[in-house]
């Protein structure tokens, strides 16, 4: 509901004082000032941020599921401990991000309700299954790696609470990325079966990871306005290219093959050139037809439903406590 139509320019008939306010707002952005919750902001800026921060928060929460899928099967106690801590960090990120969204005047409950009825989006990557232990390494390496590429520029985002939340999140994400790569190093240096497991995971996660940066610039709905507002600092294609340039040598170091027969190094540009991305898959997953969309939403709904009586009990208890405190005061 927050998307579409947001990029529409202000109507030329906007009253003069409104236009002046917009100009002053843009001037603050251009001067790299941070916008804070109580500052005036255009409604479309607010809605764009709510949409983006909420999607990000939902992605963290839904993202707990594919990785949580391996907590009970982690192959050593150290790996189990690191994985629990990681999944817990994702929950923590979700919490700061919902709080950042709340500073824009929307309640967490409302955002969660949007997710549960299937109206809100979250990162399409989490609709892919985690089939082997190598997927846990690959998610850390590629998915957290892609997230970092996307998120480091957000530490300089024009909206203060979001930028500050991102500073902490990025620190933790880069830790996760190193942990993921370390799992891959162990597998790649392990038995033939472990190496095959690592290659299979790279084959399945490579393209979905590239899709995490969103549609190509020519098809991206929100890029231009978000760049003007410094919500976004680089385009989808720029970030995707950076990710590929950083990741291909890491795959080579692991002795794994990137599953793109057209991938080549271009001497003149100093960048890798990659084969075409299957955007029909991206759009299908986004629309709900990915391998795990149903399961992910069903798991969130089941937790929410199973927790209803618990939340009601906590509220009832708090109410009883408050009532007895009132009685004590009155008495």
């Amino acid at each position: 509901m927050y998307t579409q139509a947001l990029d529409a320019p202000q109507p030329p008939s906007a009253p003069t004082d409104e236009r002046e306010r917009l100009e002053r707002f843009q001037a603050r952005i251009d001067a790299d000032e941070k916008i804070e919750p109580k500052d005036w902001m255009p409604e479309a800026y607010r809605q764009t941020l709510i949409r983006q921060i909420a999607q990000h928060a939902h992605s963290e929460i839904v993202g707990m599921l594919p990785e949580g899928n391996w907590i009970t099967r982690a192959p050593s106690l150290r790996r189990k401990s690191v994985l629990i801590a990681k999944v817990q960090d994702e929950g923590g990120h979700g919490m700061y991000l919902y709080s950042a969204a709340e500073t824009l005047g929307v309640a967490r409950g409302e955002l969660v309700a949007q997710l549960l009825i299937g109206r809100a989006k979250y990162s399409s990557i989490f609709n892919y299954p985690t089939l082997t232990w190598a997927d846990i390494g690959t998610i850390g390496w590629l998915v957290d790696g892609a997230a970092i590429m996307n998120q480091i520029p957000l530490c300089r985002c024009s909206y203060g609470p979001y930028a500050r939340a991102m500073v902490r999140i990025c620190k933790e994400e880069s830790f996760h990325q190193r942990q993921g790569y370390e799992i891959m190093l162990t597998l790649a240096g392990g038995s033939a079966e472990q190496r095959a497991m690592a290659q299979d995971a790279l084959n399945r996660w490579w393209w979905p990871s590239l899709m995490m940066f969103g549609p190509s610039d020519t098809d991206s709905k929100h890029t231009a306005q978000s760049m003007r507002w410094k919500i976004k600092r680089f385009t989808n294609d720029e970030l995707r290219q950076r990710f590929i340039d950083a990741t291909v040598p890491q795959a080579e170091y692991l002795g794994l093959m990137v599953p793109d027969p057209e991938l080549r190094w271009d001497e003149t540009t100093g960048h890798y050139v990659h084969g075409p991305i299957d955007w029909s898959e991206f759009h299908a997953v986004l629309k709900g037809d990915g391998p795990c969309n149903r399961e992910r939403l069903a798991a969130r709904r089941a937790a929410h439903e199973a927790g209803r009586w618990v939340r009601e009990a906590a509220a009832a208890y708090a109410e009883k406590q408050a009532a007895s405190a009132r009685d004590a005061q009155a008495g």
Partner: protein, 262 residues
């Protein structure tokens, strides 16, 4: 009160020390495995994070204890060999720890009854004559105090919340209470460990556990279920059917791909 205050006594046998530390380590490990499965599925984000924290603490305790058990045994088994390459009958955890998560009331009741036991046990073990065990207990104590605050806090909110939460919590207590027999009945090993100053005096643990749990139940407006004799004790390797399934899942990778590192 603490065992350390007693004069030095005959040392415990390696077998006794190994078995005793396994009881503690396995109970934490199996409880962590149960809680770890809940991460991402809790009733609210805050509870998800809290249960994840508790799982991490328990796993940390389990790793220290299993590593210590391996050193005591002296046969080269490390924490992973002990966790992943023993079958159910060799596990020494309290059977309460292996009970399924159930609904949130069952999770909380299970945690609460075990947390009270762990808190009292570690409080006492912090003065153990076994220095390594005493150090682990001392570190774990701070965590155990928080675990108890969390689980007892929820026991009270659920017991004194709505009619539904009260009924669910009563049902959970009724279902799980028989497993408290094991927490409080000292067997010959518990007695020997107390005599040699390593383990706590069983009567002391029972008394303190009773006081702590009774107070929480009273505040939660919950009836204490009647005592039931239940002599099938996990700490002696006699488990419920649940443990085999839990281990089948937990141990799958090291069993399917033996001899490699992860």
């Amino acid at each position: 009160m603490s065992p350390a205050a007693e004069p030095a006594r005959a040392p415990a046998s390696v077998e006794d020390r190994f078995e005793y530390v396994l009881r503690l380590g396995d109970t934490s490990l199996i409880a962590a495995q149960r809680l770890g499965a809940l991460l991402g599925h809790g009733p609210a984000l805050e509870e998800d994070l809290a249960l994840g924290n508790i799982a991490l603490d328990l796993l940390g305790q389990a790793r220290l204890l299993l590593a210590l058990a391996g050193r005591i045994e002296g046969r080269g088994r490390d924490e992973d060999a002990l966790a992943f390459l023993r079958d159910a009958g060799q596990f020494r955890n309290m059977a309460l720890a292996e009970q399924p998560d159930g609904d949130f009331a069952e999770t909380i009741v299970r945690q609460c009854l075990l947390d009270a036991w762990r808190l009292e046990t570690y409080e006492s073990l912090a003065g153990s004559q076994d220095r390594e065990l005493a150090d682990i207990a001392e570190k774990a104590l701070k965590e155990c105090r928080y675990h108890w605050r969390f689980s007892a806090g929820w026991l009270v909110r659920l017991g004194d919340g709505t009619a539904e939460s009260h009924a669910r919590t009563c049902a959970a207590l009724e279902k799980l209470w028989r497993f408290t027999d094991e927490l409080l009945s000292a067997d010959a090993l518990d007695a020997r460990m107390a005599v040699c100053g390593i383990g706590p005096a069983p009567a002391l643990i029972r008394e303190r556990w009773e006081t702590r749990v009774s107070a929480a139940l009273a505040e939660a407006k919950l009836e204490r279920p009647a005592h039931r004799h239940y002599p099938w004790h996990g700490k002696r390797g006699v488990h419920t059917e649940h443990l085999g399934h839990l281990l089948a899942e937990m141990q799958f990778l090291p069993r399917a791909y033996p001899g490699v590192s992860w």
